[in-house]
Amino acid sequence: MQELSMDAVELAVKTVADVAIANEKYFSELDSAAGDADFGVSLATGFRAVISQWDAIDRSSIGLFLMKVGVIITSNVGGCSGPIWGTAFMRAGTMSKDKTSLMLTDLVTMLRAAIKGIMARGGAQLGDKTLLDALAPATDKLEEWSQKDTQDILGALQAATGIATETIESTRGWIAKRGRQAFTGERSIGTLDPGVVAVAIMLQAVTKALKDAYE
């Protein structure tokens, strides 16, 4: 598979939403280890709003579709997650405004823009133990694959998922420097970052859904 169609993007977003909604309790649970136990509720609220407006979302381009998803999230979710996830979708959308299909290189450009947007919005750096620490290495991996001749999106996603999944445990020993968990200082060491876990699980689910549909 060398291109993602509008349908494929829809499937990916829908899968992300399903993961958020299905894991509401679990993600809040993770956030109660050193945070304030609302991450699951926030994500689920946002993606429930997306689903409830699903059919009405503009599909004239992938970018417009993603931007609208970002707006819905920003409008309905507070905490850190609303601005961060909203910004991410909006920035990714901006980079694909007039596209109706995506190559692997497009995907990389979009994710780079999302990462930059998140950093600008929330001031986090890599290593602060946030979802960036899953998203950034996964994007690196996609970029690596985009430089191959095959342009194999599913293969690249598979590889990105693997690296993101590894960050769940590899960031456990870090100290949180952003979000509510940062206030506990050293006590955040040894806990999983809920954002990292969410990104990894979403990547796993999206890869599987695309494989099931297109392979």
């Binding site: 609302d38 409008s75 905490g79």
Partner: protein
């Protein structure tokens, strides 16, 4: 979960409905954006003062809306900053020729949503001023993190700014005043128990019968360390020491002393704690000219308290004593 709730997802809305039912003449409510606002506001001859953080801190912030306090509040879900749109709509609704003051508690989420709303409101031509509140000494500040939290000291920033706003102060004056108040107020909190967000249905953290959390925030996030439960006076001593040494407060200072309950601690215990804190003030040469004992900024039904000291000058004393009228009242 031992709570008076219906459907957890309706928790915040039902509280707001109760609030406007209890204050039908004074408060109005915009359910779509969780906005509670003064029925007699905005007015072009007064800066509007608004705030919106997570819910679960009641009476902060929705029950602080009233004459001489906030003009509007737009809370988010329990412990989650409101969506940007609520902040933006609230700013537009309270638009005044003299401007709109955003009083923001220093949390990553709050900062981001209010930042975004601020940008959008200014694009609409609304004059916006910002004060960031960060009075919590339990958090070790560093240039890299978002910094200290805004906790019970928030009350003093609102009260002073709102009193000055009623007296006609400009937006610029209010920003300066708010920053000054924030610079002289310090707080630290302690928890005996965790709290249970309705949507989670279980306590956020487990804590043994003989343990306390020192240096907690107001979101059920763990504190700076777990300690053994001690006599009340010993707990007050530790908290007082951390707060008083931070500004630092000095012999001869005139202060207000606040013992704020976290939601589940009865007022009897708060006065017992106040006793020791007031004696410590005496011993340290701090003159308490105004006292505050009660629930101001809570964490749902958490058992715990925070201690706030604020250094006063004549202007601040006058502003704190100015009349105000809000939903939390006795009579």
């Amino acid at each position: 979960m031992k709570k008076f709730v219906n459907e957890p997802s309706n928790f915040v809305h039902e509280i707001m409905e109760g609030l406007v039912l209890a204050n039908p003449d004074k408060l109005k409510y915009v359910p779509d954006y969780n906005i509670i606002y003064r029925a007699d506001m905005p007015r072009d001859d007064k800066v509007s003062i608004i705030q919106g953080s997570g819910s679960g801190h009641e009476p902060a912030h929705i029950m602080l809306v009233g004459q001489g306090m906030l003009d509007a509040a737009c809370p988010g879900n329990v412990f989650a900053a409101p969506p940007m749109e609520y902040c933006y709509e609230c700013t537009k609704l309270m638009n005044s020729k003299k401007g709109v003051l955003h009083l923001i508690n220093n949390y990553q989420g709050d900062r981001m949503v209010w930042d975004m709303a601020h940008e959008m409101a200014e694009a609409d031509g609304i004059k916006v001023g910002v004060v960031i509140i960060d009075d919590d000494v339990a958090v070790q500040d560093s240039t890299h993190t978002v910094g200290r939290r805004g906790v019970a000291g928030n009350f003093f920033v609102i009260k002073a700014c709102a009193a000055a706003a009623e007296q006609g102060a400009s937006l610029e004056e209010l920003v300066a005043l708010g920053n000054r108040v924030n610079s002289v107020v310090r707080t630290m909190g302690v928890a005996l128990t965790s709290c249970t967000p309705p949507a989670k249905g279980e306590p956020i953290f487990d804590i043994a019968d003989d343990e306390i959390e020192m240096g907690i925030g107001i979101h059920g996030e763990p504190g700076r360390r777990r300690a053994k439960l001690q006599a009340a006076d010993a707990i007050v001593d530790e908290v007082f020491q951390a707060v008083a040494s931070d500004l630092p407060f000095k012999r001869g200072d005139q202060v207000s002393l606040m013992i704020n309950g976290m939601g589940g601690t009865p007022i009897s215990e708060l006065y017992l704690l106040y006793r020791k804190a007031a004696l410590n003030c005496k011993n340290s040469g701090l003159e308490v000219v105004r006292s505050y004992v009660g629930n101001y900024c809570t964490s749902l039904e958490m058992a715990g308290f925070s201690l706030t000291l604020i250094r006063l000058d004549d202007n601040l004393k006058r502003l704190l004593a100015a009349p105000a009228e809000i939903p939390i009242r006795v009579f």
